[in-house]
Point group: D2
């Protein structure tokens, strides 16, 4: 992981809105910190659909995108019914791994930044090459 | 579903303790109602292990236990760090389905009752016969 | 709970779409049965917003809508990336409780039916009266 | 975050076992990556209880331990029914934040490493001082 996610929404090529469910809050009255990772995943899936390589295409090809590393910095709490905008970018891609960066905002205020590192694996979990389009992907 | 779960712990043949995680609470300061179903599942898995038919045995035989119906009555809220005792019984078994009943208590006070109805399915999701031991199981 | 949810979408006054997250699937390759309850909740919150009584209004008035009972019948499995339409109706309302019924469909095929029973509680969890609009609500 | 979690269990002062729930698996047949954070939290809560400063003591004092950052490196997949040993250490403590490091193992094989950074906040979410015992805590 060598990516520093930007606080500037313009640095991201795609964004996706998610409304916070009550089920995602905790007894501190805010969204539980573990619940951000499914938000990142939902935005990642929407991003892949947006660029014409939906995740179902990966799965049909027998490839899964395994999460190798995840990092989240929590900046301002999320609350029930907030509409969270997840800004997403493909930050880098190598032969076997790629990195995604994220900025979460609510009403244009930063709520969190995050990075996930991914590798491609076969259906039975063995590492494999990334799809070729990914290595040559230009924002 | 034709089972009425008892409020008497003695009516259940097995019990299993679960400590409430902070991640399972919601902004009302109590355990979110959706979180009871994984508690029932964990207790069901522990019960099957206890009677010598662990769920891994089912899966090794290519059988999954699909949940067909679930009912929960929430009686007293669960809170962070509570130790919940899940009392479990195999309430009935027919050729293709079986019913489990549950009583959840905290410090001997009823917190919830529940019933789940299950069928056996193959790995690709088609209904199949229950394991034979199940139909002849006596508490 | 005395409601039998209809399999006819026309019997419901409102519907709300939810796309299945990968995080909501389980090792059977389908949506885990516990994950339906947050779907019902999200649709309920959207319904209340739609009829002009958003749940945030309840919370601002110091009232929470406690779930007293929940029942789900699982009919056809949900899978990753499915767009689930949750049809919702306010099935009945009494002085202290109300019942909601639900039909989940994917591409017009029934996936599940459900009922939830609710009561109003104060912020510290004591039962209180339902909002007056609710008792007189007509579909 | 400036901690590099060790792969040597002996580097951790406490460990806590968690059995994987079926509800925590995903359609890849492994534990979903978001589910590790509640495991870390459960182990952290058990660690604080173990050293005589249970998290309920914090909450009674009006202090919450907010998660400021979380990092997980996924090394080997976790599966249903695995017994995961979460090794925990208080890696560092400053005036306003502290860092915890984690090693997850299954049958002595590393499954993941992680770091969480925490700050103390009041019940209404404002930063406050850490409990004094924490700054002077010696492993």
């Amino acid at each position: 992981m060598d990516v520093e996610p930007s606080l500037d929404p313009a640095a991201y090529e795609f964004h996706h809105d998610i409304r916070v469910r009550f089920a995602e809050t905790d007894a501190m009255g805010i969204v539980h910190h573990s619940r951000y990772l499914p938000y990142l995943e939902e935005a990642r899936v929407a991003f892949l659909r947006h660029i014409g390589h939906p995740y179902t295409e990966w799965r049909d090809a027998g490839i899964e995108s395994a999460v190798l590393e995840a990092f989240v910095r929590y900046r301002n709490a999320l609350r029930f019914d907030d509409v969270v905008t997840v800004h997403v970018a493909l930050a880098s891609a190598a032969r076997a791994t790629f990195q995604m960066s994220y900025l979460l905002t609510v009403a244009d205020r930063p709520a969190a930044t995050a990075v996930t590192v991914h590798g491609a694996v076969t259906a039975d979990g063995r590492p494999t090459r990334l799809p070729t389009w990914l290595a040559s992907y230009q924002q």
